[in-house]
């Protein structure tokens, strides 16, 4: 809400601050300047949103509402990065569509929704899943604003399928992230399908911030969620520098690790813990044993256990017998602790020497995931973990290292020490990666089966020359939204004949995808899943090459081949790849009615089919597909302009009849 009359605040930021009145105000009357002059004598409490004027505080700020100034990072977006349609850049500034509800290109949707990607052949398992919180984060966006404020409210304007926000983080002056709000189970009940201004109650805090990170979990959503704008409201502080110094002085450093105690917990007074049987013997308990030894335990549990427990509870005089954790054999303890998440594991290690020894055993660090701890991951943590993780097999450092917390040198050291047996490595959105880190990966980790480098797009590309050419055992390669040099990819394809899963989403701009497809057909015939989202320049020739991948179960050709006609490429693909379970043809506008007939005829195993935005789909073809594809679970018919409004009821009926989730959109 600007106070400049007659619109067009030419270069002022979208804030309500009195400092926004710039010299170029195109206003008949500059109300803001008037008010400013009026209030000069007063404390600077602009508009006095709070009635309490604290005359003692000389640096009392004013209440400020501001919209996003820029986007620092995001994990995924629907559109391609140079576009302004369906991309993260649309979060910037005032809401453009709110309070309208619908699927608009001027908003920010993420790449996935629901659990369909987890049900696809290309789904992966999380590394060290016990680390994940109950409502895990699937996607995030990091935005910054113009002015530092003490946050009192964060409002997120959702214009399509609301309900995905699960956490709000703020980055303080002391370079630490604080979670301002976290969703509970009740918050995730799906809200009504209407646009909403989502402003949950934030934790009371005195931190000062202008950078926020919003976490999303869309597993319960029906379709894509879209965000129009984010607003940060709070009280400014004018003496930011003083505050910073004060906060740094009073700040206690928080780390995940505290040094383990040298001296150790006290052993029980009646001697060292012995084996269980010894304990049982000292209890003077005689179970009833039958002749048949096999039934002893079963009988004991059924008949005598309660008696045993009762008998032993009643003892008043003697010290009650203890069976404690440390009595258990080492291997059992290890097994128990293997269910713990990393944070708890470190805490357990502080209990006693014994527990420290157990909790630092390398077998507990065979799988390591710092993704849920992205906000505290640091070089020191990596250093500590390097000491323990001598048998490291799977490593996930996704999302870590933003704002310089992890240094590339430390990462390379870690990798050199512990990386040679790595089979799975995930470095999604790692901001500390540079070309030499990738080279290191290529040199050290030659046993890699899975390599995931999502969202590592830099200019010039990280992946260049022959940095990963040494990897020969890859089965899964994920380069979602990461640029690479084509020669590197082609040589990697030639080298990794066992490749099963390949994700090249958003990479198709400067890459000749037909060439890549031809390579795949020649060298990687075991390919099971392939994602070529937004590979604009794939042509029918490339599609024909893909038809030679007979093991293909999942193919995402969204937004490819747009203005070209497919020829008989789709027919060949469907005939030669009978195992195809997931086929995405979003916006492949060259799909003809004959192609749809082929899908119905040949797509016996199809489970997920996306036909968004395809022209000339009639409901007869849809019915055909529903009848002839018995395993179909998902059918996306959004923006198919031939499906008229009167057909929506029909679609709903079919959805029930065939047990298929049919997505469709109403025209606005």
């Amino acid at each position: 809400m600007s106070l400049l009359a007659y619109g067009e605040p030419a270069q002022s930021s979208d804030t309500d601050s009195s400092t926004a009145a710039e010299a170029e105000a195109d206003a008949l009357v500059d109300f803001t300047a008037m008010l400013q002059r009026q209030r000069q004598g007063e404390h600077g409490g602009w508009f006095g949103y709070d009635s309490k004027m604290q005359s003692t505080e000389s640096n009392q700020g004013y209440y400020l509402e501001q919209y996003v100034l820029g986007v620092l990072d995001f994990s995924s977006q629907y559109g391609i990065d140079y576009s302004i349609s369906y991309t993260a850049a649309n979060v910037v500034g005032r809401p453009t569509k709110f309070p309208a509800y619908g699927d608009y290109p001027e908003t920010f949707p993420m790449r996935t929704y629901g659990d369909w990607w987890q049900r696809a052949p290309s789904a992966t398992r999380e590394i060290q899943p016990q680390n994940l919180p109950k409502l895990e984060t699937h996607d995030y966006v990091v935005v910054y604003f113009e002015e530092f404020v003490v946050p009192t409210e964060v409002a997120i304007f959702e214009t399509f399928n609301p309900g995905a926000v699960v956490r709000i983080w703020a980055y303080g002056l002391t370079k630490h992230w604080t979670c301002l709000w976290e969703a509970t189970e009740s918050d995730l009940a799906r809200p009504p399908s209407d646009s909403r201004r989502f402003a949950p109650a934030l934790k009371k805090t005195t931190m000062v911030t202008k950078t926020l990170r919003i976490d999303f979990n869309h597993s319960r959503l029906n379709y894509y969620t879209e965000i129009d704008a984010i607003m940060l409201c709070g009280r400014t502080v004018s003496k930011t520098q003083n505050l910073l110094a004060k906060q740094q002085r009073t700040q206690q450093s928080r780390t995940l690790v505290s040094p383990p105690p040298e001296v150790i917990g006290s052993p029980p007074s009646d001697g060292t813990g012995g084996p269980i049987s010894y304990k049982l013997r000292t209890l003077k308990f005689q179970p009833n044993c039958g002749k048949d030894g096999a039934t002893k335990l079963h009988e004991f549990i059924n008949n005598d256990l309660s008696q045993f427990l009762a008998a032993n509870c009643m003892d008043g005089g003697e010290t009650p017998p203890q069976i404690c954790l440390t009595d258990l054999p080492f291997e059992i303890l290890l097994r128990i602790l293997s269910y713990l998440d990393l944070k708890s594991l470190f805490r357990v290690g502080q209990v006693s020497r014994t527990f420290y020894d157990i909790s630092t055993h390398p077998l507990l660090y065979a799988e390591l995931s710092l993704k849920p701890y992205w906000h505290v991951a640091s070089s020191e943590l990596l250093c500590t973990l390097a000491r323990r993780a001598t048998m490291l097999r799977k490593l996930d450092l996704s999302w870590c290292g933003g704002f310089g917390n992890v240094s590339p040198t430390e990462f390379k050291k870690f990798l050199t020490q512990r990386g040679d047996n790595l089979t799975h490595l995930r470095l999604n959105s790692c901001k500390f990666l540079n070309a030499s880190c990738i080279e290191n990966v290529g040199i050290v980790c030659d046993n890699l089966i899975e390599l995931s480098l999502r969202n590592c797009a830099t200019d010039p590309p990280l992946l260049n020359f022959s940095c990963l050419a040494n990897l020969k055992n890859l089965e899964r390669l994920d380069l979602f939204q990461t640029y690479f040099e084509t020669e590197l990819l082609l040589s990697m394809l030639e080298g990794n004949r066992k490749l099963k899963h390949l994700n090249l989403a958003f990479c198709g701009v400067s890459v000749n995808m037909d060439n890549v497809a031809a390579h795949l057909a020649t060298y990687n015939t075991q390919l099971i899943s392939l994602d070529l989202w937004k590979a604009h320049f794939l042509s029918a020739r490339g599609l024909q090459s893909l038809a030679r991948l007979h093991q293909l179960e999942e193919l995402d050709l969204g937004w490819c081949l747009r203005e070209a006609s497919l020829g008989d490429g789709l027919f060949q693909l469907l005939s030669n790849c009978p195992k195809l379970k997931k086929l995405f043809l979003s916006a492949v506008r060259g799909t003809t009615e004959r192609d749809l007939m082929h899908i119905a005829a040949l797509g016996k195993n199809l489970e997920q089919l996306d036909l968004m935005g395809i022209l000339n789909i009639t409901h007869e073809r849809v019915y055909d597909i529903l009848v002839h594809c018995p395993k179909l679970q998902l059918l996306d018919l959004s923006f198919c302009d031939n499906i008229m409004d009167r057909d929506f009821q029909l679609l709903a009926d079919w959805s029930r009849q065939f047990n298929v989730d049919i997505k469709s959109s109403r025209h606005h």
Binding site: S12, S13, G70
Partner: protein
């Protein structure tokens, strides 16, 4: 065979890809806030900057050809569309005329032109907007077509004009038969050229239905006619679609435009724009009058007479320093 769209977008996306990281930090103007429909008024005198920073005082008026079919929607007149946008470094205006022939294929011709103009408006606020290259603006807007979920087909002409405040120069790009005219001291100083393949078939940006690419006339943004020239205080600039240029003879236009030279009152400017649009409309419906369209038809051996009924869009601006 490279269709123009595919070639254009390859070039554009490579160029944009190299600066993609700056795309994330778009200008602070905010997406939809720009381009108010009214006039921009000169600011209060106190605190004005010392160096001459020109700006447009601009107004819009127009009529749809067929009032029954087209309810009034802001930003469009029938199949014509226009936009205005403003940043710290530039003032931008543009018009686009949807080619009506698509209606017989079941495609709404106004959709393409409207999309083109709305996207130009949004793109002006992006960080990679270059105030000296209106062709880029058109090309980026054209590329955005490929990224829409809703299939948009059709074609249109386009004319975009950017006033670069730093250098007080105007850069223009024109494809097709829309155009602009600049009047100073009672004389036409600059005028755009009509681009036509043959009579009544202007150059056009188009997105044909898939598979029909070779059959459809499609010109790439690179074929736009570009001009750059300095402007002075008081210059009158008119951007209009062919509904105006085909119906109103040039001397009549000159007469009307020279009256508002140096005019800074948007209300008076609006009155002139209204009268110009009304003039065009009246003449277009007149079946006896020898309009510029009729004259040009006769030059092509077609016996035509009277005005040409068409959508009319008038964007009238004066330069104020």
């Amino acid at each position: 065979m490279h269709s123009s769209l595919s070639w254009t977008s390859r070039v554009i996306s490579r160029a944009l890809r190299s600066s993609f990281s700056t795309l994330l930090e778009t200008a602070t103007g905010g997406g939809g806030g720009a381009a108010a429909k009214g006039a921009t008024k000169s600011g209060a005198g106190a605190g004005s900057s010392s160096s001459p920073r020109p700006r447009f005082v601009s107004v819009v008026c127009g009529f749809a050809k067929d009032n029954l079919r087209h309810k009034y929607k802001p930003g469009k007149y029938g199949e014509d569309s226009w936009f205005k946008a403003s940043t710290a470094s530039a003032d931008v205006m543009g018009v686009a005329d949807g080619v009506g022939g698509w209606r017989s294929y079941g495609i709404d011709p106004g959709e393409f032109s409207s999309f083109l103009m709305r996207t130009c408006e949004r793109l002006v606020q992006c960080s990679h907007f270059n105030p000296q290259r209106p062709v880029n603006l058109l090309a980026y807007s054209y590329c955005e077509l490929m990224e829409q979920k809703k299939p948009i087909l059709g074609s249109s002409t386009a004319c975009v004009l950017i006033l670069n405040r730093e250098t007080s120069t105007v850069h223009t790009a024109n494809i097709g038969d829309s155009g602009f005219i600049v009047v100073r001291e009672g004389q036409v100083v600059h005028k755009s050229e009509e681009q036509q393949h043959y009579f009544n078939t202007p150059f056009q940006l188009s997105l044909p239905p898939p598979g029909h690419g070779p059959n459809v006339l499609s010109d790439s943004p690179e074929s736009a006619d570009t001009m750059s020239f300095p402007v002075r205080d008081g210059d009158v600039i008119l951007i209009a679609t062919d509904g105006v240029f085909d119906n109103v003879p040039e001397d009549l236009m000159l007469q009307v435009l020279s009256e508002v030279e140096g005019e800074r009152d948007p209300v008076k400017l609006q009155m002139t724009a209204n009268s110009l649009a009304l003039m065009a409309r009246t003449l277009s419906l007149n079946s006896e009058f020898l309009s510029p369209f009729a004259l040009s038809a006769r030059r092509n051996n077609i016996q035509a007479r009277g005005g040409k009924p068409d959508d009319i869009t008038v964007v009238l601006a004066t330069v104020a320093m």
